[in-house]
Amino acid sequence: MKRVYLDYAATTPTHPDVVTAMLPYLNDTFGNPSSIHSFGQEAKGAIEEARETIAALIGAKNDEIVFTSGGTEADNFAIKGVAYANEHRGNHIITNSIEHHAVIEPLKFLERRGFKVTYLPVDQYGMVDPQGVRKAVSEKTILISVMHANNEIGTIEPIAEIGRIAKEMGVYFHTDAAQTIGHIPIKVNELGVDLLAISAHKLYGPKGVGALYVRKGTKVAPFMHGGEQERRRRASTENVPGIVGFGKAMQIAQNEMGTEAERLTLLRGGLIEGLLERIDDIQLNGHPRKRLPNNVNVSVQFVEGESMLLNLDMEGIAASTGSACSSSSLEPSHVLLALGLPHEQAHGSLRFTLGRETTEEEIERVLEVLPPIVAKLRSMSPLLKSRV
């Protein structure tokens, strides 16, 4: 049985050309970029080339890119870095209720240390209201953090609009762009962001590497203290192969983004339409149009997500769910609850995220396999009975 991978938002397979680009730096070109000999300088050259590629693609300057160990570190760096470097100016941070844990958890950490955080609500599609952001700003506000697009429901936030407000109010603006980088165009000046977190493994690059864009002049405390790497903002010997792979992945994404987004949007539309047509009592979560080209998230009523996932996996199809049963916290997805979904619908959510290898045949297979799975689970659901 050929397996069908529809969980690209979790991670992507590394592009073969990325692997090829990385290999020399795992073999002969192994030097430490901080060393002044030729071994070191070869490695140094490679990371600076990757930095240049990435900076150019997002419209940044080279020295505004700081490499990190991934998206989570980039988010932590941005949030704690701004908080620590600006606490003399204020202790208030604005975010919203559907951020990734990589943003929410550092904010909770700061709250326990005296910072105040405003969690703005979102509408039924997961949209943050820019005017809500404006109203929440006080003279103590030092940072606004709103993700570029949501990882679960795919909703794309009005970042440029919030960026204009942040600039007008003189507040730093951070966005988690882990889900959008390499998938939709990003220019830091158009978005009006001061800090932008990105990760390589979401765009066919390797795991364990990411970056934070830091606009020149933004006051941020270093994330790691130690050597002088990354202009003293992030000590630690650089992940040379990872950074090289990240640069290559960005280059490939830049070339293919337009056509790929178009192709995936069509496949996505077909999957959504097919699911709504073939399964009763199902609804799309997230924005119908302002959503990532590859994201499908639905709530199937009267059934629970993990049991759907297990059945799909037995058919060789990999997806994900916001059900509590798939997490150790036993809490359903905070994102789906923030949309106003009742608990049982949050438990019954399924996310399919499409990517490079996704074909029409694969979408058709999901549409063939899922309806009987839902029917089987509904036949044993006490919820359905109580409704009839």
């Binding site: 009267f302 629970e304 993990e306 049991s307 509590a324 608990h343 044993m380 659901s381 919820l383 009975k385």
Partner: protein, 136 residues
């Protein structure tokens, strides 16, 4: 086959999940148990038929994860043929053990199965007490 999500669960759990025993309802059951709620994500309904103090049939309906469905299936298998006293002895650990174990975060599903059974037996005992009073 390659390792996958099923390595989370024992083969026995997966077997009961794939082919759950005793799915459905009993018409005019002698006892019904209803436990769980939508907030926690697991809801179990368990029905029993009792003849001369022996559970002769058991059925269930469950909204929940793989472990919730498998424990429901297993507990209905375990109670059949048991006296009420014997059935009351069935613990959540016994259900989990019969399934060759559950991942730690899924043990609450076995607790729910035990509670569903106890609740169905309570219901039966209350019903039969009422019947006794009526007959007197």
């Amino acid at each position: 086959m390659a390792p996958n999500i099923r390595s989370l669960y024992s083969e026995k759990v997966m077997e009961h999940f794939k082919n759950p025993r005793n799915v459905g309802e009993i018409e005019n059951p002698d006892g019904t148990g209803h436990v769980g709620n939508p907030v926690c994500g697991d809801i179990m309904e368990l029905y029993i038929r009792v003849n001369d103090g022996v559970i002769t049939d058991a059925k269930f309906k469950t909204f929940g994860c793989g472990a919730a469905i498998a424990t429901s299936s297993m507990v209905t298998e375990m109670v059949k043929g048991k006296t009420i006293e014997e059935a009351l002895e069935i613990s959540n650990h016994a259900v989990a053990e019969a399934l060759d174990g559950l991942p730690p975060i899924k043990m609450h599903c076995s607790v729910l199965a035990e509670e569903a059974l106890k609740s169905a037996i309570d219901d039966y005992l209350n019903n039969s007490k009422g019947m006794d009073l009526e007959s007197e």
